[in-house]
Amino acid sequence: MTPIAFIRRGLVHYRGSYLGVLAGAALGAMVLLGALFAGDSVKETLRTVAEQRIGWVESVLVGGENFVTRDLADRLDAAPVLQLQAQVNAGRASAGQVDLLGVDDRFWSLGTGPSIPPGLDGDSFRINHTLARQLDVGTGDSLVVRLRKPSLLSSDAPLSGDTEELITLRGTVSAILADDQMGRFSLRSSQLPTPLLCLPIERFAEAIEQPGKANLLLSPKPIDPEKLRASMTLADYGLHFEPIPLADAVALRSNNIFLPPAIEAKARETFPGARPVLTYLANTVAANDRETPYSMIAGIDASPVLPDDFKDDEIVLNSWEAEDLAADPGDEVELTYYVLGGNNQLDEESATFTVRSIIPLEGLAADRKWMPDFPGIAEAESNADWSPGLPLDLTRIREKDETYWDDHRGTPKAFITHRAAAKLWQNRWGSLTGLRMESGLAGRSSELVAALTPTDAGLTIRNIRAEASSSANSPTDFAGLFLSMSFFLILAAVGLTAMLFRFNVEQRNRESGLLAALGVPAKRILRWRLTEGFVVVALGSAIGLLLAIAYTRGLLAFLETIWSLDGDRLFHFHMSPASVAGGLAGFVILVMSTIGFVTRRQAGRSAGIRLESGTEEVIRSRSTRAPWVALVALLVGIGALAGSKAMGPQGGFFLAGFAFLVAGLAAFVWRLRRRQFLPEEAVDPAGMAAINTTRRPTRSLVVTASLAAGVFLVISVAAFQKHGGDEWKDKASGAGGFAFWIETTSPVHRGSGKKGLELQADPPADLLPFRVGTGDDASCFNLNAVARPRLLATDVSRLEGRFTVKNTVDDLPVSWLAVHRTHDPDGAYLPAFIDETTLLWVLKKKLGDTLIYTDDAGREVPVRIAGTLAGSVFQGSLVVDERAFLQRFPKASGYRLFLGETTGMLETDRTQYQQAFTDLGASITTTAERLAAFHSVENTYIAIFHVLGGLGVVLGAAGLGLLTARNLAERREEFAMLRTLGIPDEVRRSIILRESARYILWGLGIGLLAAIISILPNLPGSGRLLTLAWIAALVVVIAANALFWAWLGYRRTRLA
C-alpha cells in the first residue's frame, strides 16, 4: 500500500462525504469565475462595440456647425460626411435624435464587415437595425426625414435669420446596415447604438443649401495636423473675398456673417491696411421727433467715406435719412437697436449721436455691399418679407421705406465709426461683418490661409481610435463589482467546503489515531488528508468552471435588461485565459488555505484521544481576547459614527455598522467562553441548549457569524434600494420640483413668443431651458469611460433652492451660487455642478478637480467641479452657468433640453408640451420616470447583490443544518443515554431546536443591529416604510430559511 494508493482508496471509500466538499468547491468556483467572466465579457463587448462604432476610421476632422469643402476630404484621402440630427417618421411611427449622415461611396469602405455595395443614390436611404426596429420598417419602406435647416450663424445671434425653416426629405429604405457595415457608426462613447440614417451627401447638402460641403471627415489614417493646415483653403475656413466694385476693393467675409475674433485678428495682421466694417440693424433712427424704422447703420473707418476727424459720438446721415428726419448737422440722433442681453434675451437699447454731416446717396455712400448677406434680409423682395430672427413690427414700415429697399436694398442710411459700432453691437460671435481692402490684396489670400489654423474655424482633429479604445475601458470594473457582490456567497461556499472537509477528517479520527499509533507521523497523515482535499477541490473547481460559463451567460442576460435597447443582445460571453487560470488557481489556493487552517489542529492531537473517541471535545478556555476585541470594535464604531461627517454619512455609518458587527460577535464569543450556568439551568431544555452552544465555541461562532454577516450585508444593502414615488414634487429632490424632462432633436431658440422660446404652442407651465454642450452621457446607462460629460448650460440662478447641493468647493456656501463665487479672479475656469455619484464613480474625481474641454476656437477650457448634487436628473452631465458657458462656446445654438413645471395635471401637461414641441423631435419624459430609470440601474445591482448575498445566506444556513446534523451524529450516545434516562423525545427535540434557535437569534440579532446602524442615514424619506417593510420581510425569510435548514439537519439524523 503506497500513500497514493491509500489516498485513492480514501477518496473512493469516502466519496459520499466528499460529495458535499465537491459541490461546495464547484459552487464557489462557479461564482468566483462567473464574476471574472462577467468582467471579461463586458470588457470584450465594449471593445467590440467601440470597434464597430468607428470601423476602420483612425481619426476624424470634426466641423460641427462649421462646414468645410468636400475637396478638403479629397486632399486628405478622407471620407466626407454631412452629419446632423433629425426626426424620422414612417407612417405613424416616429424616431427622434436620429443621426442623419450624408455620405458618398468612400464611407462604406470604412466598415469592418462584409462590404456593402456602393451606389446609395437618388432618394434611397440606408438605415441601421436600431432605427429599423424603432420604426418597424424594412427595405422598400418609405421614410420621411424632418430637420431644421442649419444656420451658419448661431440662431441666438441677432440678425441670424428665421430659424423655423423645416426641411423634409423623403426616400425609401434600400438596405439595413449591419453593425459592422457602419450601422453602429457614432462618435459618441456609448455601448448603445444610435438610430442612423444614411443618404447621398449631394442630396443632403443641396437640401440644407450647403452644396459641396461636409462637416465631418473620416480618415482611415491619422490626420496630420500640418497636412491638414496645408490643405485648408479660404473656403474651408468659411471665408471668401467679395468684390466691392464701387470701391475697387474686396471685402473679406465670413459665411457666419461675423468674422470670428481669432480669424479677425490674423486677418488684420495679414492685411494691416484693411478697414473694418460692422453693419447692424437699427430698429429706429430718431431725431427732431421724427423716426425711421429698421435701417442699416454701418460702422466703418473714416476714410474715404467719412471725414478724417470723424469722432465716435458723431454720425453721418445719407441724404435720404437726413431728409426723412429733417436733420441737419449738429442735431442729435438716437439709434435704437436690439442686443443680446446677459440672459440671452434680446434687449432693446439706444445710443445718441450728433450729426456730423449729410452725405449724398451716391458713390461709396450708396454701396449696397456695406451690408453683409444677413439671413432673412438679404434675399427679401421687400421690407415686409424680412425675417431677420428679430421681433420686428413690420406695420411701422412705410411706403417710402419700401421704395428705399427697392432702390437701395441694404445700403446704410447712416455711418458711425467702427469703434463706436463695435462698442454697441459687438457680440460673442465677433465685431466685424467685413474687412475691406484693396482688390489686389485678395491675391494674397494664401498668406491669410497660412496664418490661420483649423481651430480658428472650430475644426478639431480627434484621434477617434484612441478615444474609442480608452472609452471601452468601463469605469465600472465589473469583475471587481461582481466579486464584491459575490463576496459573501464565495465566503459561504468556501466555509461550507472547509466545514464539510473537516467533518470528513473528524469522521476518520479513529483511523488517524490508529495510523498515529502505528507510527505514521501526524503531519504526514494531515498531508494525506489535504492531498485528498486538493483532488476533490480541484475537481470541484473544474466543474465550477463549466458551470461558470452558464452562470455568466445568465448574469449577462440579466444585465442586458438595463443596458441594452429593446431586448437587443448586447453582451457577448468571453473568458480570458488569465481569468480562467488566475480564477481557478486563486480559488483552489483559497479553499486549500481555509481547509489547512481548519484542520491544522488535527496534527497536534494524540493518538490516544483519537482512538478514544470519534470526535473531539473542545474545552472552554477563558480567553481574555474577546472582550478587548469587542471594546476596540465598539470604539471604532462610535468613532465612525462621530466621524461620519468627515468620511461621508454612508461610509461612516457602514463602517460603524461593520464595527458593531465585529463587536457583537466578539461579545458573543466572550459570553460563550465566560458564561457560568446554574445547576438548575441544566435541567431545563433552554438552559441545556444554552450550555450546548458553549460546547464548541468555534463551531458556534462560525454559524452565528455567517448568519450575522449575511443579515448585515443583505439588509444594509437593502437600504440602498431606491423607491420612486412623489418625491419629484419636492424642490429638494433629485427632480428639483420639475415635472418634465424634455430633450429635442433640433435646438429651440429664443423668440418673441410666450416664455421667450420659439415653440409651436404655448407650454402649459414654466420651462427652464438648457443649452447642450459637448461631451458624452456619463450616466449609469453608459458603460463606457467618459472623460468629458455632457455640458448643460442654464441660468443657474433659477436653480437656487432646487435640488440638493451636497458640497461646494473653496468653503463656499452650499448653494448653486457657488458657480459664481469660485475663487477664480481670472475667470480661467468654467465652474460646474455635477451629481456626486457621477463624480465619484464615473469620473473618479473629486470636488475642485478640473476637466479639460475644447471651446469653439479650439482652445482648452478647464471646467472645474464647483459643487456636487445629491442623486438628480442631471446624472451624467455637468451643469454650468449659461452666461459663462456662452463666453467659451459662442457658437452654441439654441436649447435642446428643458425642465418643465406642471400645473398639477401631468397627463394634460404632457400633451400640451408635446404640442408645444411639435416638429422638434422631442422626447418628453417625467422627471419621476427619469429618476426611476436611474434607480432601476442601482436597484438591479442591489437585486443581483441580494440574489448572490441571499444565496450566501442560504448556504450559511445550510451550514447550520449540516452542523445540526453533525452535532446530532456526534452526540448519538448522549441522546441515547438521555433516552435511557427517560427524557422524552420532545425534550430532546426541544434541546436540539433551541440550540439552533440560539444560533439564529444571536446571528440575526447581531447582524440586524449592525445593519440598522449602518443604514440609518440611507433610509429615504418617502420610501422609508417600504424599505423597513422590505427589511422586515428579509429578516423573516432569513430566519425561516435558517430554521428550515436546522430542522432538515435534525430530520436527517434525529434519534428516535
Binding site: E680, V683, I691, L981, G982, P984
Partner: protein, 226 residues
C-alpha cells in the same frame, strides 16, 4: 419487585431468527441484590434493556412493582424509567459539556418532576457527597478519573430515588480497587435505602457480593453455584 414470566426475545436476521431469551423467568424481591453473569453475547444486556423498559419482549410479561412494563407505550415507558429506575452504564455516558453536579441533575430534563429544583439540587449534592465527590461538584467529566466518573453516574442513577437500579457492567473499566469501592457504594445504597440492585457483570467478585447470582445460559436464567 421484579417478576418476569416466560420472557422471550427474538431478532430477525437475514439468515435466521435469533432467539436470545427463551422463556426466561425471574423473581426478585424488594431490596434484594442480584447479579446476572454469563458469556458475552448470551443476552445479558438484552435482558437489562427489557427490564429497563428500553425494549419490549417478543412474548412474556415483566412486572415491576405490579406494573407490566412490557405493555407501556413509549412515553409511559420513558416516564417509568425517569421516575422509577436508575441506570448505571459501563461507559458512564456523562455529558462532556456539563459538570459533575449538572450531570447528576440531567434526569430532571424530562421536565415533569414535581419537587422543586432546589430540592433535587440539594439531593444531588448530598448524593455526590455520599459517593465521595464533594470536591468534584464543578469539575467537568474529562477532569475525573474512571472511578469518579462511575460514581457520578451512580449518583445520577439515584437522583430520582429509584426503587430499582440496573447496572450494566458498572465496573468493567475499573481497576480492582475502584471496583471494590463501587461495589461497596452500591451495596451501601441497597442497605441504607432499600434499593433493589440488579447488576449485569462479568466480574465474579462483584457478582459474589450480591445476595443472588444468576447465570444466563441458552436464553434462560439459572441460579449460579457460588
Amino acid at each position: 419487585m421484579i417478576t418476569a414470566h416466560h420472557l422471550t426475545k427474538s431478532y430477525e436476521t437475514p439468515g435466521e431468527t435469533v432467539h436470545v431469551l427463551q422463556g426466561l423467568t425471574l423473581d426478585l424481591a424488594d431490596g434484594s441484590t442480584a447479579a446476572i453473569v454469563g458469556p458475552s453475547g448470551c443476552g445479558k444486556t438484552t435482558l437489562l434493556n427489557l427490564l429497563g423498559a428500553l425494549d419490549k419482549p417478543t412474548s412474556g410479561s415483566i412486572e415491576i412493582d405490579g406494573l407490566d412494563i412490557a405493555q407501556l407505550s413509549e412515553p409511559d415507558a420513558a416516564a417509568f424509567r425517569n421516575h422509577r429506575l436508575g441506570f448505571v452504564f459501563q461507559q458512564h455516558h456523562l455529558l462532556p459539556q456539563l459538570n459533575v453536579l449538572e450531570n447528576v441533575l440531567v434526569p430532571r430534563l424530562a421536565g415533569d418532576w414535581e419537587e422543586p429544583p432546589t430540592t433535587t439540587q440539594e439531593r444531588a449534592t448530598e448524593l455526590l457527597v455520599k459517593v465521595g465527590l464533594q470536591d468534584r461538584l464543578h469539575h467537568l467529566p474529562w477532569q475525573l478519573s474512571g472511578g469518579e466518573k462511575l460514581r457520578t453516574a451512580v449518583a445520577r442513577a439515584l437522583i430520582n430515588q429509584p426503587k430499582l437500579i440496573l447496572a450494566d457492567e458498572p465496573t468493567g473499566s475499573l481497576d480492582p480497587a475502584s471496583t471494590d469501592q463501587v461495589a461497596d457504594l452500591l451495596l451501601e445504597l441497597n442497605r441504607d435505602q432499600g434499593v433493589t440492585l440488579l447488576v449485569v457483570t462479568h466480574n465474579h467478585a462483584l457478582a459474589q457480593r450480591m445476595s443472588r447470582t444468576f447465570e444466563l445460559k441458552a436464553g434462560q436464567l439459572h441460579t449460579a453455584s457460588s
